[in-house]
């Protein structure tokens, strides 16, 4: 094939002809192109034979390809061949054994606080996220957000290149223009440059910013995140004069008071881990159970778990906190609020001086934080259960909203020439009165250069000139800090899928020289001078996932109570209701809106998926006349109904209302959810929904609370709701929160006192011996699981870990409405107490396949698709399943999940990379369920057999067990008397769910305990226990004689 620059190249000649412009007259082609090569070309007899057109698709090539395709067509006729090239490792790279996953330490940062992770990599693809046991912020556990980051990495909606005004550009062209702009702005010291980031705790990035800000003294850097620590920092300023980072030690606290602080719904898994240590009672060792008091507005996971909960209106909170402070003897504290609840509780805290803890929530006003500090000081807790350090982030003394307002002012004044937004989504999530609005963003005269670094084209990106596709943290080098300041190096597991860039690289572009420094060098160079001088130390830090001794040193501060004399501003707004705002428990502030896993993850408290609702109390609902179709006894938040002809799927109907907050109206209609435990006349709304450009998954779901959020009323204010008369359907994975008097059989919660007095009271008697048949003997291993309901806080982490590990599909809102969600593991929630509208507590129970010894499902499958394994597991054989669903009908726990439609995405290439290669992808028409992570069992068994030893206890860790922040789940071999699970199964609190059916489950539970203070006005003994005891007595009286003669034992 002749080269492109051949003299007789036809294309060359053609171009020559076409390049002639103007009025040229010619008689013949020869005359027209007076060139020797042209003459040669035309003089040839068969020009088309002698030469090829350089169109890239030559005749020869064409024939070659045709020939090959014909030959291959014959082959592909038989089997569909994968389109990918399969290349074996000719030389095997070090450490990589095909089929064996590798784990790499890294960290996820949310709200400026890191959770250390170990990410699993299968053949170079991250496939699962686990917690890093060596990281202080994780200790091996993670929360739902960190789990779901895996899906965010493979989100097909991520942008794959740089965009300039929605036009695809290259990074190089961006750098060229950007550098030009930077140099242009350097003239006046960068006075027109503004950076806007989320909360930054990365030491390297902070150092980079500091460097740039000294080079460009006129430039300014703002941080804004909708869920931030402003109040905590301002509160610390009130109490101590300077903002501090508060570090709690829940493991050392015996009495804990939460002032609207959602310890378990928050992002810090370490706190959950520490708290659960005070809930692990029994098991031989003598340990006291801690006691948790909660004063809060909206029922949270913390409130649900607490031993005593007081629901107050958000506006009352300050007064309540003052009353508590007064009762605790904080000097200068006085309050108009008085309640026996507060006094008795304060007495209890005072009895545990130095071993108690008061925690204030980030959404409480600064004064409550200051009060909490004063209370901790009064209780001698400082240095014991609470310590202080410098804030993790830079510029913590200025509230983020104040900074944001300053930025908006500058923009309006036309002072901003270059707005560089690194991460976040400020156009969407800034408060209404300091909005980075469309008008501001589209004004090219005032904002001539706008840049957004983001993983997808979102609301902010679409209004910016430049959109740079960001790296996911699993693709980049960076660093971050844990809750106590311990630094972690973030290392990439995979090459950036789409060649994204990180904030480090963008900020580096502002540097005078070396502006294209590689990310790894930026991070490495920073740490070279900050404690990781040699390469060995660096490698160790990267490997371990944390930098030794990098925790921030404890700071000595003294609380003054001078702030008590200051008046606290109350929210000004019109309306007869108080409205509280909370981040969504699943999708947080809106950054996870496009994450299907989190969208479908049921809200831990009301099990609503795929949208946000507005919570009201039953009484308020009655007053407003909303959701009156609901059955109060059933405690669902909306009315359950059935339709003769169902098009949309929903059977749960909720009224739509219009909602105003601080005189602003939410533009979408808001669905109502009636939530027992909510104080009257208070509505709770959630952030994160109503996004207009989130992606295929998240766009257009729910209502947008940011529309009405104000910078002076970030968390609560006044408002009103009015009924529209319209209804909608809600996708809730649970509609019945009342246990219908089945406490004895389903979710057993006892009083701590009665258990401590006599552990026998919690004992459950079973009748395994009464079978007509000899039980099967398991010679080798016999797997079992134990779930400690006293530790479980219902955080949902297990649900998501299971979804990630076992390739469980997301089914979408309509299918959830049809009650077809696929989660193998779910967390059931039941309200406790006789008064269904004013419940005592909300209890949680993780529910998964119970792996029954006498499995009802196995009996009824006509094709033996579900059978018992030699190790006692109830195996599901997908390939054998024909989908009669009989097994599910006969399963009393209803833990089986059926692929009613083709729920798995077989086409999106990104998802193919994400899936766990050790778990098969189920197709339509097949039943599936929890397998106890059989792939992990097999892996450990193989290892053990290779080494010729028994599988060690704790060697097999199921996905749910691994992720559990409270260590509530234990898996192991029931045949090994020394295994943890075997020991737990002998605990008196151990029980089987639905024991009367005698299914003999392998998954057993430890009954929950409630450590109530008997003096508290809301003390109430567990009524069901009394009832069950009476019934048992009655039964014993009837059958006592026969039982005795048979000598039945437990």
């Amino acid at each position: 094939m002749p080269s492109k620059d051949s003299k007789t190249n036809f294309a060359l000649l053609r171009n020559k002809i076409l390049s002639q412009n103007g009025k040229n007259y010619w008689r013949s082609v020869e005359e027209f192109v007076d060139a020797p090569e042209f003459a040669e070309f035309v003089s040839r007899e068969y020009p088309q034979h002698a030469e090829e057109w350089s169109d890239g698709f030559s005749r020869r090539n064409f024939i070659k390809i045709m020939g090959a395709s014909l030959a291959l067509a014959g082959l592909s006729g038989c089997i569909i061949q994968p389109a990918e090239k399969i290349v074996p490792y000719v030389k095997q790279p070090e450490e990589i054994i095909p089929g064996k996953p590798l784990f790499f330490a890294t960290a996820a940062t949310l709200g400026g606080v890191a959770t250390g992770l170990l990410a699993r990599s299968n053949e170079g693809r991250p496939t699962k996220i686990e917690g890093n046991p060596d990281h202080v912020g994780s200790l091996g556990a993670t929360n739902v957000f960190a789990q779901a980051e895996l899906l965010s990495l493979y989100d097909p909606d991520r942008t794959q290149q740089v965009f300039y005004r929605n036009e695809q550009k290259t990074w190089q062209s961006f750098v060229a223009e950007f550098r030009g702009k930077v140099e242009e702005n350097r003239q006046n010291g960068g006075a027109g440059i503004r950076f806007l980031t989320e909360t930054v705790t990365s030491p390297t990035l902070i150092a980079q910013f500091k460097q740039i800000l000294t080079e460009l003294p006129g430039a300014k850097w703002y941080q804004y995140e909708p869920v931030n620590k402003d109040n905590a920092h301002q509160g610390a300023k009130l109490a101590f004069g300077s903002p501090v980072n508060t570090v709690y030690k829940f493991d050392k606290a015996e009495r804990i008071l939460s002032l609207d602080a959602d310890i378990f719904g928050g992002t810090n898994v370490r706190y959950m881990k520490d708290f659960s240590k005070g809930r692990k009672v029994g098991h031989g060792e003598e340990s006291k159970m801690n006691r948790l008091y909660t004063v809060e507005t909206t029922l949270s996971l913390t409130g649900a778990k607490s031993d005593h909960r007081l629901a107050v209106k958000p506006s009352e909170m300050t007064e309540v906190a003052k009353a508590i402070a007064k009762a605790l003897g904080v000097s200068g504290a006085s309050s108009a609020y008085s309640n026996k609840w507060v006094d008795v509780m304060a007495k209890d805290l005072l009895e545990a001086k130095g071993k108690s803890l008061v925690v204030a929530g980030d959404n409480q006003p600064p004064v409550v934080h200051a009060l909490a500090h004063a209370m901790n000081a009064a209780l001698n807790n400082v240095g014991q259960t609470v310590t202080y350090t410098d804030p993790l982030s830079e510029k913590a003394d200025v509230a983020q909203t104040d900074g944001l307002k300053e930025l908006i002012k500058d923009i309006d004044a036309g002072a901003v020439k270059m707005l560089v937004i690194l991460g976040g989504n400020p156009v969407y999530n800034t408060p209404a009165d300091a909005k980075l609005s469309k008008e501001r963003m589209m004004d090219d005269a005032k904002l001539p250069f706008r840049l957004h670094l983001s993983q997808s084209m979102d609301e902010t990106s679409e209004l910016c000139h430049w959109h740079v596709n960001a790296k996911h943290f699993l693709e980049m080098w960076s660093d971050t800090r844990a809750y106590d300041g311990t630094a972690t190096i973030v290392q990439p597991l995979v090459q950036p899928l789409y060649d994204g860039k990180s904030a480090h690289e963008i900020v580096q572009l502002f540097a005078k020289e070396n502006f294209e420094k590689k990310e790894i060098d930026i991070v490495k160079d920073y740490w070279k001078t900050n404690g990781l001088a040699d390469d060995k130390a660096w490698r160790k830090a990267v490997h371990d996932g944390s930098i030794p001794n990098s925790a921030l040193p404890a700071k000595t501060v003294t609380a003054n109570t001078g702030f008590l004399s200051q008046s606290t501003p109350a929210p000004t707004g019109s309306g007869d209701l108080e409205i509280a705002i909370l981040p969504d428990p699943s999708i947080y502030d809106g950054r996870y809106t496009n994450n299907g896993w989190l969208q479908e993850l049921p809200n831990p408290l009301n099990k609503v998926t795929w949208e946000n609702v507005a919570l009201v109390s039953p009484k308020t609902a009655e007053k407003l006349g909303v959701n009156q179709g609901r059955d109060a006894n059933q405690q669902a938040g909306a009315g359950e109904g059935t339709t003769f002809y169902n098009t949309k799927g929903g059977n749960l109907f909720s009224d739509l209302v219009t909602l105003t907050y601080q005189d602003g109206k939410v533009s979408q209609k808001v669905p109502i959810w009636v939530s027992p435990g909510q104080p009257d006349d208070v509505v709770t709304i959630f952030l994160g929904y109503g996004r207009t450009r989130a992606g295929k998954v998240g766009t257009g779901l729910g209502y947008n609370a940011y529309e009405v959020r104000k910078s002076d009323a970030m968390w609560f204010g006044k408002g009103s709701i009015s009924k529209t008369g319209e209804t909608t359907t809600i996708a809730s994975s649970q509609t019945h929160f009342n246990m219908e008097g089945r406490e004895n059989e389903i979710l057993r919660v006892f009083d701590y006192d009665s258990w401590e007095k006599d552990a026998q009271t919690t004992h459950q008697h079973n009748e395994y011996e009464l079978s007509m048949f000899e039980p099967h003997e398991y010679k080798e291993r016999k797997w079992g699981m134990n779930i400690d309901l006293n530790s479980c806080v219902g955080c949902n982490a297990c649900v998501l870990a299971c979804q990630s590990e076992n390739n469980i599909p997301v089914v979408g809102k309509e299918q959830v409405e049809r009650s077809r969600e696929m989660h193998w593991m779910r967390v059931d929630a039941y309200f406790e107490g006789e008064d269904v509208n004013n419940p005592k507590a909300l209890n949680f129970q993780p529910m998964l396949c119970q792996q029954c010894e006498q499995a009802p499902c196995e009996l009824v499958c006509p094709v033996h698709a579900t059978v018992h394994s030699a190790e006692g597991l109830n195996d599901m054989v997908y390939n054998r399943c024909i989908g009669t669903r009989y097994c599910s009908n006969n399963c009393p726990y209803k833990v089986r999940r059926f692929n009613f439609l083709l729920f798995q995405d077989w086409n999106t290439p990104q998802y193919k990379l994400m899936r766990n290669p050790e778990v098969s992808i189920r197709s339509r028409g097949v039943m599936e369920k929890c397998t106890y992570c059989t792939q992990r069992i097999s892996a450990a068994r193989i290892e053990a057999e290779k080494a010729g030893r028994e599988v060690r206890d704790g060697e097999i860790v199921t996905a749910c067990e691994a992720v559990c922040p409270t260590d509530a789940i234990v898996f192991g071999n029931l045949n090994d008397p020394n295994s943890r699970v075997a020991k737990l199964s002998k605990d008196h609190r151990n029980y089987n769910v639905l024991n009367s059916l005698n299914t003999q489950p392998r998954t057993t539970y430890l009954a929950g305990l409630r450590n109530q203070n008997k003096e508290m006005p809301d003390y109430k003994a567990q009524e069901w226990v009394k009832k069950a005891a009476e019934k048992a007595k009655e039964g014993a009286a009837n059958e006592g004689e026969t039982k005795k003669s048979e000598g039945a034992s437990h």
Binding site: T642, N651, H736, G883, R885, S888, P892, K894
Partner: protein, 471 residues
């Protein structure tokens, strides 16, 4: 003497009215297929039924393409319309078998004029029923795995599963019903062959009549074969629906797990079946002027059977409620409370009680038993009621079982309805074709009821009939 005859007539009313001879019977019944112009209403009825049957075809196509998620089934309601319809259709079929087999063995003469189309009804109902267990599976293309055949996968079936028993019960039932019906048709097909003028029909009927000449030897073998088949069918009447009920009673779900299910289901099946026989025979009798063969007496008898079986079914409802209370089992008692009163489907239960319990009380009165109109109305109500009964048993038991966290509601979708109504269309399409092309009443058996047949002693009656058939 005279009085005695009157009394006798009252006790044993004649099963054929009017003045009929062997020839007129053959004419009356055979001419519907052979000579009479196909009535206009046949075309309308067939057209409508055929159209509805197309909905079934389209639904099945979509179902195979998308999966059973197009229906309203969910977790925990794994079975809904699919199994409701299956049990309903299977139940309807039972009357046919009962009439042909048990009543034959019990020498009930009145069965002769209704057994032909009752058997056809059985066959078509089983065809409709059989569709559901096959299509309700998630992967219907693998449904053959339920058949025990030697295979390279080395897999075997789970014979402890009631679904396996179902496979055998239903397939046996379908086979025996088809055989019984066909064997019973042979002499009549021969009659039609002899009378047909159209060479094509003559050929087809000839082929189907398998060379029947009506010789004494033919009759002898026929009688034995028919009796054997009746003997085979008799246990099936009881066993098939018992086994269908095992699908429920073997499971441990409150509302399913009840010992009363087998007899209760069998009675329900006969109840539903007679209702369907009446729904079919009243219009047939009316439009094709068959009052001479399907007399008032027939209607009265069928009304009585319906009343008797209906009362057994109502007893079943009482017993279910009683068990819920007497067992003192919290799940059982919650189930029955939920079903009757506190649950969201309470209206379905009371609709069922109205349809199956209250409406049949009118059958105590002769006035209603004799009236074509009222019998038809009550039969339709009972058919609806029997469908509701299965809905109540299947859906309301599944929707609230043991763990309240997992409870849910069920609402049918468009495809649930199109599938259900589609099978009704399919059923009536087959019935219409049957009415048009085959003798709806057994010609030769009706002839045995004629006074002519009683001239000589009973043993020789058939030979006369046979002579006529080949004449």
């Amino acid at each position: 003497m005279h009085d005695l005859k009157e009394v006798q007539k009252k006790i044993y009313p004649p099963m054929v009215e009017g003045k009929h001879t062997f020839a007129t019977v053959s004419d009356e019944i055979g001419d519907i297929t052979l000579k009479k112009k196909t009535p206009f209403h046949w075309f309308i009825g067939f057209g409508i039924a055929f159209l509805i049957a197309q909905a079934l075809l389209m639904t099945i196509t979509y179902l195979l393409a998308k999966g059973i998620g197009i229906w309203g089934n969910n977790q925990p309601i794994g079975w809904a319309f699919d199994i409701i319809n299956f049990v309903w259709w299977i139940g309807i079929g039972h009357a046919g078998t009962l009439i042909s087999a048990i009543l034959l063995l019990l020498n009930q003469k009145w069965r002769t004029s209704i057994n032909r189309f009752a058997e056809a009804m059985t066959l078509f109902a089983v065809a409709c029923a059989g569709m559901f267990p096959l299509l309700h599976t998630g992967r219907p293309w693998l449904a053959y795995w339920m058949l025990p055949y030697p295979n390279v996968m080395g897999m075997w079936q789970n014979f402890r599963s009631p679904l396996m028993w179902d496979v055998f019960a239903v397939s046996t039932y379908a086979t025996v019903s088809a055989l019984f019906w066909y064997v019973g048709l042979i002499p009549d097909l021969a009659t039609l062959r002899d009378r047909a003028k159209n060479p094509f029909f003559k050929f087809v009927y000839g082929l189907l009549s398998m060379g029947w000449r009506g010789s004494a030897r033919h009759w002898h073998r026929y009688e034995i074969a028919y009796l054997i088949l009746a003997g085979l069918s008799t246990p099936l009447v009881l066993s098939v629906h018992s086994i269908v009920s095992f699908d429920f009673s073997v499971s441990q779900l409150p509302g399913w797990h009840a010992t009363i299910f087998p007899p209760y289901f069998v009675a329900g099946a006969i109840f539903a079946g007679f209702a369907m026989v009446l729904i079919l025979c009243i219009p047939l009798r009316h439009w094709y002027k068959m009052q001479d063969f399907i007399t008032k007496t027939h209607l009265i008898y069928m009304g009585k059977v319906m009343l008797a079986t209906g009362l057994i079914v109502v007893y079943g409802y009482f017993m279910e409620a009683f068990f819920g209370w007497y067992s003192e089992n919290q799940y059982e008692s919650y189930m029955i409370q939920n079903r009757i009163w506190t649950g969201p489907y309470w209206f379905m239960y009371w609709l069922l009680i109205f349809c199956n319990g209250i409406s049949i009380q009118f059958l105590w009165f002769k006035r209603f038993r004799e009236s074509e109109f009222w019998l038809f109305v009550i039969s339709v109500i009972v058919s609806v009621g029997m469908w509701l009964e299965r809905f109540v048993i299947i859906v309301t038991s599944l929707h609230r079982d043991f763990l309240p966290a997992n409870w849910a509601m069920y609402s049918p979708t468009m495809f649930d309805w199109s599938m259900f109504l589609g099978t009704i269309g399919f059923f009536f399409t087959l019935i219409y074709l049957f009415v048009r092309f085959l003798p709806i009443i057994s010609i030769f058996e009706v002839r045995t009821l004629l006074p002519d047949a009683h001239v000589e002693d009973h043993g020789h009656a058939h030979e006369h009939v046979g002579d006529e058939a080949t004449a």
